[in-house]
Subunit: 319 residues, 2 copies
């Protein structure tokens, strides 16, 4: 039921994903709002938690909400994964309260893919689930992020960086200094290799496959990146349409620019994964297009096939 | 003595600034390293705090360092302002220890200009002086930032936003929620108007003239922006030179793109100001070009003429 573009865009994406990947996709929501499900099964849920709802309250009060029912289906084994394009906080709360946490995980974290032009993306976590964090939680985020990067990026030993404001271990706030000490201990990561502190300028480069931070900083980074890419691209488009000559030249450049645009488009990455809950939960952009939903379903299927939950269970030191 | 490009670039910028603005610029440093000072006076300082030095220790041990002597000259009234392109932490420590704080200011903060294509820049503070902050410090940063925006941007009543991860006052970490409550009180800002929380995507827009945050988050935002602009511009240049046709088209577009490049270039903004110390202190990029130094000297002269220190003294509620 989520998504700024309404259920029809979601349904279109779900149908295409089912056809393309051969995965049985079930739609959960108000049957009267789902116009054209095609061959897809629809499981009725009468309530909707919308963007304005408080996440935790929404999940507690609206027991028949589509997200809550989707999370229950995963908990009960009737579904292998849930995908949502709705209120991020509510999707997270639904997964947390219905699926529960993997044993030993202190706090689930949201892992987002950041595009690195010409290379594999960077996994950023936590990108918004936990505004306030402790050093042991950041250690677990690193462990979960590395396990995710093995599956998601196909890296044998992903590199893990800690986001700070200087490369030296003495740089940063108390949280980061504490986390640095834990990450630098021998055996802190069973999968992955800690490469020390990284800075804001490194997130869109190959400095680390996984960048670990608290959910406040991570969310600010994510939105700063979205904003700056949009501002630069908008200003470029303005310049490219400023004169007749510029428009003609821009047309010639278009084929060379399209691959870059695809790389920078968040819809290419299938959304974010909520790591640490006892089931696969993929959260797509609120502004999700059908294409984003196709990729989100594909990602969910891949994470189920690769046993993401088992990988995280093995990677995490109980905290 | 600072600057990745060495003193000659700094000296060239200083000479040009003196000629252009009619401001008497004094060079402080090792006379033997200053090849061609022209008409500019040189005050000898035998030591250099370099990028590898610890800031506080450097200032305490190297009492004859160029930065320390420059800050002393401001303290003693022999200079009206200091400009440094060296180690940011050491420039800050020199100013703090030699000039001291304005009475009532708990912590000085670094204010950086972020480009907003087609509009006035955004003042971001603290962009790196204080990794760990309290709500009352953020209130003072808002008061200082608003006073700076009046002078720097020529705004009568600058708008002030608090960086968070959602617009609602309930969103964010404990620091931000505490600061929001203080900023929302009547009369919190004598200059400027609090517009509530802003998000990362808003820093390069007109959402607020001044964006307030702790020095950890601010520094991460600043470096994330630098990195993302560079990555996008590099990828564009690569696309624009990928074929003979693309190169020809790019040449046609160049005149339309140059103003944008100038807007996005940090050298256009004359560097960052350290607000809250009892004197004008401008910190230029470590990679400063002569052009950046010209703009930094111009900014320093403007802030002296506009009585930045007096404005901040009047704007701050003692904390």
């Amino acid at each position: 039921m989520g998504g700024d573009k309404g259920p029809s865009e979601i349904v279109a994406g779900a149908r295409e994903a089912a056809a393309r990947f051969g995965v049985p996709v079930v739609l959960v929501g108000r049957p009267e709002d789902i116009d054209d499900p095609g061959d897809l099964e629809v499981w009725a849920a009468t309530e909707v938690i919308d963007m304005a709802d408080d996440a935790m309250q929404g999940v507690r009060r609206k027991k028949d909400a589509s997200m809550v029912r989707a999370a229950e289906a995963v908990r009960d084994g009737r579904a292998s994964a849930m995908v949502s394009a709705g209120n991020t906080g509510a999707a997270m709360a639904s997964a947390l309260l219905r699926m529960g946490r993997i044993s030993g995980v202190a706090r689930p974290a949201i892992a987002t893919m950041l595009p690195v032009p010409g290379s594999t993306p960077t996994v950023l976590l936590d990108s918004g689930a936990n505004a306030e964090c402790t050093p042991p939680w950041l250690l677990q985020f690193a462990q979960m992020g590395a396990a995710y990067a093995v599956l998601r990026l196909g890296k044998d030993v992903p590199t893990v960086g800690l986001l700070s404001i200087g490369e030296e271990k003495s740089k940063g706030n108390e949280l980061v200094k504490g986390a640095h000490a834990l990450l630098a201990e021998a055996g802190a990561l069973s999968t992955g290799r800690f490469v020390g502190n990284v800075e804001g300028r490194d997130v869109l480069t190959d400095a680390a496959d996984v960048v670990v931070t608290d959910g406040f900083t991570g969310n600010v980074v994510l939105k700063t990146l979205e904003g700056s890419v949009r501002v630069v691209v908008d200003a470029l488009l303005l310049a490219m349409t400023s004169t007749e000559e510029a428009r003609a030249a821009a047309k010639v450049l278009l084929p060379a620019l399209l691959p870059l645009q695809a790389e920078l488009d968040p819809d290419s990455y299938g959304g974010a994964a909520l790591l640490g809950v006892d089931g696969v939960c993929i959260i797509s952009h609120g502004s999700s297009s059908a294409r984003a939903i196709v990729n989100a379903v594909g990602l969910a299927a891949e994470m189920v096939a690769g046993d993401l939950v088992g990988s995280i269970r093995r990677a995490v030191t109980p905290g």
